[in-house]
């Protein structure tokens, strides 16, 4: 399937990267907040006031991806999120306690569900098509992509809007930090949406050639897949790795790097977007952006005319995912 429109909001100012360019440099922070664009030109002012940050960034990237592809009514909307709308959930629960479970206001409750981002996009578009949200920890985005691939296999001429969003709130940051989640890598957040179709066109960014997920695989299983991938693909130009500094899974990342070729350059994408469960959506945007522009430009690492970029991530829960992007 082909990415024919893509948009991301991230701690790096990437929203208008195609027109304005982007300086891909590591973000130095402890808590990465997204660089928000001017939403006024993208979302009706009357609706913005009710939207929390995750909804705003999800809706804005979805609208931008659609606009790039010239699509107004997608045939499916698929969203991945691990934490969902945390800010609204926090507001709702706080009022529940403070007001002794009485006189609760509707807005925070309505918008506290995980599928709010996909629902808001559909409401704005008046789109009654298939709409699904995947909540599966760090596989949330990957499962959305898989569903998009299934949809396009069954409906070859259709358009699918697929993406992911997660936000970091004051509460979630404090809690996750207490669990030493950000000991090695700063906490991040972000949203990215893609308009995918089974055919490419002149505006295409990249082709998603492979999506593969594994849950707590044994070594043989993952070795077999990585070796097969390496043999079949005849040259991966770049590994976009989800490894964090001081990662407990460093050996696993090194093993995968060894299988696909130790001489293949590696970029650790979480230094740009921070650590959050759907960060692979940002990696997918970044890889597609480099394939579209025909150049990997990340400070000290420069690559001309990259053809294939592999995104690999794993975590201590045993989730592994591979996304292989190819230039069009």
């Amino acid at each position: 399937m082909f990415i024919n429109g893509a948009s991301a909001i991230s701690p790096l100012p990437v929203f208008d990267a195609v027109s304005a360019g982007v300086n891909v440099v590591p973000v130095l922070t402890q808590r990465g907040k997204v660089t928000e664009p001017d939403y006024g030109s993208l979302i009706d002012q009357k609706l913005i006031r009710r939207m929390s940050r995750i909804i705003r960034m999800g809706v804005a990237t979805a609208m931008d991806a659609l606009k790039q592809a010239g699509i107004q009514d997608p045939d499916a909307i698929l969203t991945g999120t691990a934490y969902g709308c945390l800010e609204d959930t926090g507001i709702f629960l706080k009022r529940l306690v403070e007001n002794k479970e009485e006189m609760l206001t509707p807005t925070a409750f309505i918008q506290s569900t995980h599928n709010t981002v996909g629902a808001q996009v559909a409401l704005l578009l008046k789109c009654h098509s298939y709409n699904n949200t995947y909540v599966q920890r760090s596989h949330s985005f990957e499962l959305s992509l898989m569903d998009a691939r299934l949809w396009l296999t069954e409906n070859p001429g259709s358009s699918v809007l697929v993406g992911a969003a997660d936000e970091l709130t004051d509460y979630s940051y404090a809690l996750l930090e207490r669990f030493a989640q950000f000991r090695n890598q700063w906490g991040g957040e972000g949203a990215a949406y893609f308009l995918v179709q089974s055919e490419s066109n002149s505006a295409s960014w990249a082709r998603i050639e492979q999506i593969y997920t594994l849950f707590q695989p044994d070594l043989e299983e993952i070795t077999a897949f990585a070796t097969k991938l390496s043999e079949e693909q005849n040259g991966i130009d770049l590994l976009l790795s989800g490894m964090e500094s001081g990662d407990v899974n460093a050996d696993q990342y090194a093993r995968i790097h060894g299988f696909i070729g130790e001489d293949i350059p590696v970029i650790h994408y979480k230094q740009y977007c921070g650590s959050y469960p759907t960060a692979t959506a940002f990696a997918c945007w970044l890889g597609a952006f480099w394939l579209k522009t025909g150049k990997v430009d990340a400070g000290s690492l420069q690559l001309n005319a990259p053809k294939r970029i592999l995104i690999y991530q794993t975590d201590s829960m045993g989730y592994h995912s591979f996304i292989l992007l190819k230039s069009c």
Partner: protein, 89 residues
């Protein structure tokens, strides 16, 4: 609190409760709150009902009265004045 003060307080509370991007001085007390004017919708109506209960301890007994009560800031103020229980002492 006299009526003018109540109107100003209501404007401020409506802005806060509904996260409106306007100043109190932008709201004309006699203008419609819904559709035209501030362009509020049915979710906002629920927020205003809760606001009235929480802040002024006034429950809207008949749902049919809603459109009349929430017509404007002026009508809300009149309804609050007419239904507020006098403070003891």
């Amino acid at each position: 609190m006299n009526r003018d003060q109540l109107v100003e307080e209501l404007k401020q509370q409506i802005i806060e409760q509904l996260n409106l991007q306007v100043k109190p001085s932008d709201i004309v007390a006699a203008d419609p709150l819904f559709n035209e004017g501030l362009g509020l919708d049915s979710i906002d109506a629920l927020e205003l009902i809760v606001l009235m209960q929480q802040k002024y301890r006034i429950k809207l007994a008949n749902a049919e009265d809603g459109p009349k009560v929430f017509q404007s800031v002026d009508t809300m103020a009149d309804f609050i004045i007419a239904n507020q229980t006098p403070q003891a002492g």
